[in-house]
């Protein structure tokens, strides 16, 4: 069906049901939609981080600070081979390799299950919801951030910190693809029992350097 015909049908339908008092488009204040779980509007960066950590933990995410705890976490999970986004080689490749962890800078889809972890940069975090913002600019390989069992997002001084969901949506910009990841992949389809790690990561980690 062509666009003209398609839209004409809808125009005719709307005209047939024209209301004497049309419903206006309401304006609303962001404060109305912001939940009580959000940080105060005048929060400093330390308290935004603190709120983010609380909310992220509430959805079974884990936060760690420093390369040492990252190495410990990976070795403890027997994750000795994984994907590291190329632009993170500088701070991370050396220490990880020195700990016996092997790295690849691209995902080979013929060996998709060989990657126990994927480390990519976070474009932002949302304190209100405990979400990590992933976009095309921050993550050169969508699969690297999705296929491995453990996904680590790096948070540093360049990472945007949004107090609220409203703020994060305001900042979507022209990015063709943005994901707000709020904890590990999960399902409760089988008898309502919560299982983590369905198609995406079973562990969602935030690493702050």
């Amino acid at each position: 069906m062509d666009q003209q015909c398609f839209l004409d049908n809808i125009r005719a339908a709307v005209a047939r049901n024209a209301k004497p008092s049309p419903t206006p488009l309401p304006e609303w204040d962001p404060a109305m939609v912001t939940s009580q779980l959000a940080p105060d509007t005048d929060s400093d960066s330390a308290s935004l981080w603190e709120t983010f950590c609380q909310r992220f933990r509430a959805v079974n995410g884990q936060t760690i600070e420093g390369i040492g705890p990252l190495i410990a976490l990976l070795l403890n999970a027997d994750a000795k081979h994984g994907y590291l986004a190329p632009e993170l080689n500088g701070p991370l490749a050396g220490p990880l390799q020195n700990a016996g962890i092997t790295l690849e800078s691209a995902i080979d889809t013929t060996r998709i299950d060989d990657y126990a972890f994927g480390i990519t940069r976070a474009a932002g975090i949302i304190a209100e919801t405990g979400s990590v913002v992933i976009n095309e600019s921050s993550t050169p390989s969508r699969l690297g951030a999705l296929a491995p069992w453990i996904h680590v997002t790096l948070i540093d001084a360049n990472t945007k910190v949004f107090a609220t969901l409203v703020d994060a949506i305001k900042d979507l910009g022209d990015e063709p693809y943005v994901v707000f990841a709020t904890g590990p992949s999960k399902t409760a389809d089988v008898e309502g029992i919560l299982i983590e790690g369905v198609h995406g990561p079973g562990m969602q980690i935030c690493l702050r350097l």
Partner: protein, 471 residues
Amino acid sequence: MKTSQPIDAFGRDLSQEVKESVYSSSKAKYDKRIGALNAGYIAPDSLRKLAGQIKQHTLENLPSYLESAIGKLEANGAKVHYAKDGEEANATILGIMNAAGATKLIKSKSMVSEEIHLNAFLENNGCESVESDLGEFIVQLDHDMPSHIVTPIVHKNRQQIATTFEKMGLGDYNDDPTTITRRARTYLRKKYLEAEVGLTGANFVSAESGRIVLVTNEGNARFSICANRIHIVLVGIEKLVPRDKDLALFLNLLARSATGQQLTVYTQFINGPKAPDQIDGPGEMHVVFLDNGRSEILAGEFQSILRCIRCGACLNVCPVYRQTSGHAYRAVYPGPVGAVLSPLLAGKRYPEFADLPKASSLCGACNEVCPVDIPLPELLLRHRNKSKLEHIQKASAGTPPLGGWAVLCSTPSMWKSTLTLGKVMDYVPMKLVPVPAVQAWTQTRTLPPFRGGKFRGWYKEHRKHDSGNNQ
């Protein structure tokens, strides 16, 4: 119990096991919804009123919002298609696949694709179409139907799923939910990587930016646009919202209303094909806008049902759904929303579904929980009225003739005289009244002793008394 209504008969014959599973799952989701809303907001009701108003405004101005979204989508590099009905939508999707030489499609959960029977169509045309949502995948393996908008296999237990997996070669019998999930992960991973096309629905489309918004907890919609070269979005025309900022309101409401979460695990905003320097993801994006009877609904007295954001909250709260399960509604959309929507989407087959609006006690709970404030009880009554005016037999199955009652209620003198004789009701053996509906009702209930007929006298006396005091 003898009953003439199909939905009652379905509920009566439903196994106790399924009934308990549907009831407990519905109640749990209802409780979680309340908990999440109250934890988040002092006055959550004001949010759903606001959302209802925004969606109503969008419907009343849908052509201009659609034009805006189409313009943005095209400017962002997507190709937009238009389908009047399911047949056209299916043919369009097959056409896109054929043009690309593609035969394998991976699909994330989409109610609208269920509505047009996309899987069966593609399979009949030599293409593979695999459901990737765990519940939908199990439904597909079983050649079954989803029974809930959000949790499609609420009617199945782990033993049934394990048996299906064993039969389909996904491993030896094992009914541990974690094992079931891991096996699906392994199997579907191959399918994601093999598929040339990923098909998703859309929870919302922003008219302002053309942004497609998708939410999933499992990550299947993410994987469906990761390893493949073509992304097809199949979306009903009612999914538009005016502005990007409105998405914050709707996402907050959708997650809380559907699963009691603050935010669904993965919220995706898709603004076109992948970025040029992105390694993975589709370089080609198609959006198929589907009408399929929606413009007819838009033109009529049921317009507000198109506000629905498919959260399933009205199912979870509905006493009829809880007792009968989703399959009792015999259509893609169950529960109160289905009872309103399914007869309308059926088009000329409206009479086949005209009994569904009777499947409600009109308690109003569905309206109270609806995140977009759809007046569901009112719409159900409009359906009943429509069926009565159009003399649709199925709509009045099990309903005793009420002509005499109508005369009685609309004739004050007759009503008054009847009330004076009301006491006689206490001595009539109701089980012997030769009306099936009365017999069915009294089989499990007794009438209380008659206490009516006294109000007129009381009112007359008090009026006299009040007039005396005022003088």
